[in-house]
């Protein structure tokens, strides 16, 4: 960690460009790209593959966006890189912090406390991703597994893993309990809580992976429509 103030670039480049913040900027770029793609260049269902941006659940997309925006992983990103509270952990990266007002999550951002309700709406979207995988397998009337099917399946698993590695899930499935193996509550080993805690430790990385998967799948399907990428058939058998 090196403070920007130590370099001669201090006054030329704002510190947010000198700290590792690629996850935040990729979120911004993906949000813009996603919006443009959804509004301007619509993709029909192609070869049985549904673009993840166009599942029927696009209707509740604002709620899913709110789920990501109130996520503990994304909070870190935008509080650091958009609001610069703080910009980085080097203690004097940005010397104006004292002068700017700060209310943390006590003012407007108190809304982050209902993260778990946005999470419930995100649960509702998950079955559609798996339904899209199912459709891509059976749309010909036979069982067909293509490269696209695999990619849709990986995307469905990634977004599911992201949703269930959430800190709110961790609280709900056992984090609220102080004791699982007390005399009143014998032999409950809370293995689900422990497994989820391990996933939760990688929540930030999973959040980014599942986000970038959307764009990857979208580009894959667009590439197929444009004839650039072949949809390789892996398994094909009649019913």
């Amino acid at each position: 960690m090196r403070a920007a103030s130590e370099t001669s670039l201090r006054h030329l480049i704002p510190p947010e460009f000198l700290e590792p913040n690629w996850r935040f900027w990729s979120f911004v770029m993906i949000s813009i790209l996603g919006t443009v793609l959804i509004l301007l260049y619509k993709v029909p269902v192609f070869d049985g593959l549904t673009d993840p941006f166009y599942t029927p659940t696009v209707l509740i997309l604002p709620l899913v966006v709110l789920f990501r925006l109130t996520c503990y992983a994304y909070r870190k990103d935008y509080h650091r890189h958009l609001f610069n509270h703080p910009n980085g952990c080097a203690t004097d990266v940005r010397l104006d912090s004292k002068k700017r007002g700060y209310s943390g999550e006590t003012g407007f951002f108190r809304v982050e406390n209902v993260h778990r309700y946005f999470m419930y709406t995100a649960w509702a979207i998950l079955p559609f991703f798996f339904y899209d995988v199912y459709v891509s397998i059976v749309y010909t009337g036979a069982i067909t597994v293509t490269l696209g099917t695999i990619i849709l399946a990986v995307n469905a698993v990634a977004v599911t893993t992201y949703t269930f590695s959430c800190h709110s899930v961790r609280h709900l499935i056992g984090g609220y309990k102080d004791c699982v193996n007390c005399p009143a509550n014998l032999n409950k080993k809370n293995s689900l809580y422990r497994l989820q805690s391990r996933l939760n430790g990688h929540h930030e990385a999973i959040a980014w992976t599942s986000l970038i998967m959307f764009v990857f799948v979208d580009l894959f399907i667009r590439g197929m429509i444009g004839g650039v990428i072949p949809n390789i058939v892996l398994i094909h058998s009649g019913l």
Binding site: R75, K76, P86, T91, Y102, E105, V114, Y117, Y176
Partner: protein
């Protein structure tokens, strides 16, 4: 002779209004840590320099300082791990300065006293028996060596005057809250009186912790989630009040 250049913050508040960085050159040795360089300066170059250290092994939490702007233990920071041709060593800026690198961290003892004490269930048979699975969570927080680097790096403590106690104190509250034999829930106290809402999950405290306690993920966020149960989640609030009514009846 190969040397290490060190720039150390010097100030005696009793006689000086402003501090300044003074440059020293210390002989380089294999595997030396920043504390070795500081001890050399104190013994051979300038005995008037004040620094605090005890165990030299990363377990007492005395030698906290800001090394190249990053709050770190001097005894755990190897000189060869630092980039640049000069090492900058400054005292923790979040606390009142006593002299040079020594700061007064006693405000933390007053804050710790405000957190409701361990309150075990009544009538428990002694000796208390606790399963490993139950003690693990609260045991992680017992690793805290009270170096207060997390308090120092926290931008809320450094830059803004709020009623937030700081990461160390949330860790303390979480270690008591998650204790299997404790009966209190401190999350409401932490949220209303200890300013937990001022934490915005930017995780610098976890980054600097020399004991690698997952301060944000394992202490702050669970405490926030517990506070949500009490103050923000209507379903949880309804279930809780129903449970309390039943317990009274």
């Amino acid at each position: 002779m190969d040397t290490v250049k060190v720039s150390v913050f010097r100030r005696d508040p009793a006689v000086e209004k402003e501090g300044k960085f003074v440059d020293y050159e210390v002989p380089r040795e294999d595997g030396m840590v920043v504390l070795d360089a500081m001890k050399y300066i104190e013994r051979h170059l300038d005995p008037s320099m004040s620094l605090r250290w005890n165990c030299s092994a990363g377990k007492c939490g005395s030698c906290s300082a800001e090394i190249n702007h990053k709050p770190s233990l001097m005894c755990k920071t190897r000189v060869d791990s630092l980039k640049g041709d000069k090492i900058k060593v400054a005292p923790m800026a979040a606390f009142p300065l006593i002299k040079d690198l020594v700061t007064d961290v006693s405000e933390n003892w007053a804050l710790l006293k405000k957190i409701p004490k361990f309150t075990p269930k009544e009538g428990l048979e002694k000796p208390w028996r606790i399963s490993q699975v139950d003690i693990e969570r609260s045991k992680e927080f017992k690793k805290c060596i009270e170096c207060f680097l997390c308090q120092d790096v926290c931008h809320v403590i450094r830059d803004h005057s709020t009623d937030y106690f700081g990461p160390r104190h949330v860790v303390k509250a979480a270690s008591l809250d998650m204790h299997p034999l404790d009966t209190l829930n401190r999350s409401e106290f932490m949220n209303k009186d200890a300013g937990l809402g001022y934490c915005n999950i930017t995780k610098c405290c976890s980054e600097v912790c020399p004991e690698e306690i997952h301060i944000t993920d394992n202490a702050i966020i669970p405490e926030k989630e517990r506070a949500v149960n009490i103050s923000y989640d209507p379903i949880a609030m309804f279930l809780r009040s129903r449970k309390q009514r039943r317990a009274k009846a």
